[in-house]
């Protein structure tokens, strides 16, 4: 991941004004900044529920045991508007997810960066993929 560039002039004012409106709740209150993770798993279910979608994954641990994880992502009403459906991401897709674990210590997290098995970033919707 790249480091946020220093921004000046108009950029600063816009950035400061935009930041609080980004999320409907403080993600840093739900997830622990001190518990970053990177896991590889297989998609078992994608809950397209508002206000945020949840990816369910089976993750194989070091001992070989499979552990179920839930990863929070973007809101489905916008995805559906842009033509993304539950079928856009097939059950069984292998994903590599970097994120932060829930503060209550359970196997839940926010997905900071979602990658496909071949290393490409997952773009569920972008104007680039539409072209």
């Amino acid at each position: 991941m790249r480091t946020r560039r220093a921004v000046t002039g108009f950029g600063v004012a816009l950035l400061l004004a935009a930041a609080p409106a980004m999320a409907h709740h403080a993600f840093s209150a739900e997830f622990d900044i001190n518990k970053p993770f990177k896991l590889r798993g297989t998609l078992t279910k994608w809950e397209m529920i508002n206000p945020h979608s949840w990816f369910h994954l089976d993750v194989k641990g070091e001992s070989g045991a499979v552990v179920a994880w839930m990863i929070e992502g973007g809101s489905p009403n916008q995805l559906i508007k842009n033509g993304v459906t539950k079928n856009t991401l097939a059950i069984g897709t292998e994903l590599v997810i970097e994120g932060y674990q829930a503060k209550d210590g359970t196997n839940k997290g926010v997905g900071r960066n979602l990658l496909l098995a071949d290393g490409r970033r997952l773009l569920l919707y972008s104007k680039e993929t539409e072209k």
Partner: protein, 331 residues
């Protein structure tokens, strides 16, 4: 990344075709009419913008040039899509660009204004009145006396509880996502469906008085009327439980909707609340035609985040108590 460059480029397309605000129009526009003869405001509209409510402190004019506006949009879009630094608070979030949620990927209502506030002329909120400042301090003290933000579900902000977002309105302001509105008109009524939290404002146009003053509602009591081509909606009966930008429950809001052309609906609003601000203030946003439909943003239905936040706070308390117990000298 190439993807980001394309996103930013697409956000700028709208600006190149944009007429300068205040420029003389060749002939006045007359909005089409509904079957019962009202100016037709129906359809899907967006107010998504990077223009801030208040004018940036380093800007001292009302309008940017097209070149400056392009630069502002380009920077704001790049900042929104920019990656955050791992291990920092802003990094604890999913990436908007992976879900097409950054503003520049959707329809935008771009304009040359340097602030949404048009009055006071400096584009900034008027100073708080003495009463407004006192009430703000009292509210802060009352909030502190109730404990920490995650001590009880009632202490969580209204947005985290999916009750009302700060920009749900009225007045209706844009945020990072969910910036689409659907207007429907029927004889005697106008309905505005707000995408954020899927709230339908149903406003009578038949001249009836507002609700009795002892009835206070999250979004107040709205009554509409036509002033020529302009739909005027006045809202009172707000509640102290939701304070728009620190306003009192006595705030009076006047919204004005005027169709400027097939693609543009001008949205203006004036906030009058002498017990909060030393003078009334007004803002203006050109809404642009958007695509529909609006899909239900049933926020409360799947709000696992609220549970996780409270459960996380309890787990942290438990951990802190256990650590404190360990440090205690053993008798």
């Amino acid at each position: 990344m190439n993807h980001r460059i394309l996103v930013v480029a697409s956000a700028l397309i709208g600006l190149s075709a944009m007429p300068l605000a205040g420029q003389a129009r060749p002939k006045p526009y007359t909005a089409p009419r509904t079957p019962d003869g009202q100016p037709d405001l129906q359809g899907f509209w967006t107010n998504a913008t990077y223009t801030t409510l208040e004018r940036p402190k380093n800007v001292d004019k009302e309008f940017y040039t097209i070149e400056e506006a392009r630069e502002v949009v380009k920077k704001a879009a790049a900042d929104e899509a920019e990656q955050t630094e791992p291990g920092t608070i802003p990094d604890v979030h999913y990436d908007f660009t992976q879900f097409g949620l950054d503003r520049s990927q959707g329809a935008m209502a771009l304009n040359l204004r340097t602030s949404l506030i048009v009055d006071p002329p400096d584009g900034r909120l008027p100073p708080l009145s003495a009463e407004g400042a006192r009430r703000a301090a009292e509210r802060t003290a009352a909030r502190k006396s109730r404990g920490g933000p995650h001590d009880a579900v009632q202490n969580e902000p209204l947005g985290a509880r999916c009750i009302l977002m700060d920009r749900n309105g009225p007045p209706m302001l844009a945020g990072a996502y969910n910036n689409t509105y659907q207007i429907m008109q029927a004889p005697g009524y106008v309905m505005i469906l707000v995408e954020m939290l899927h709230d339908a404002r149903i406003i009578p146009l038949d001249g009836r008085p507002p609700l009795p003053s002892n009835v206070r509602q999250w979004t107040g009591s709205s009554r509409g009327r036509w002033d020529g081509q302009t739909l005027v909606i006045e809202t009172t009966n707000l509640t102290d439980k939701f304070a728009f930008m620190g306003a009192s429950e006595g705030m009076r809001l006047t919204e004005r909707f005027t169709r400027l052309d097939d693609e543009t609906l001008r949205y203006q609003f004036t906030v009058e609340d002498p017990s909060t601000w030393t003078r009334p203030w007004s803002a203006e946003v050109p809404w642009k035609k958007d695509k529909g439909p609006i899909f239900e943003h049933a926020c409360h239905e799947g709000n696992y985040g609220l549970y996780n936040t409270l459960a996380g706070a309890r787990a942290e308390e438990k951990r802190a108590a256990e650590e404190a117990a360990k440090k205690k000298p053993q008798n």
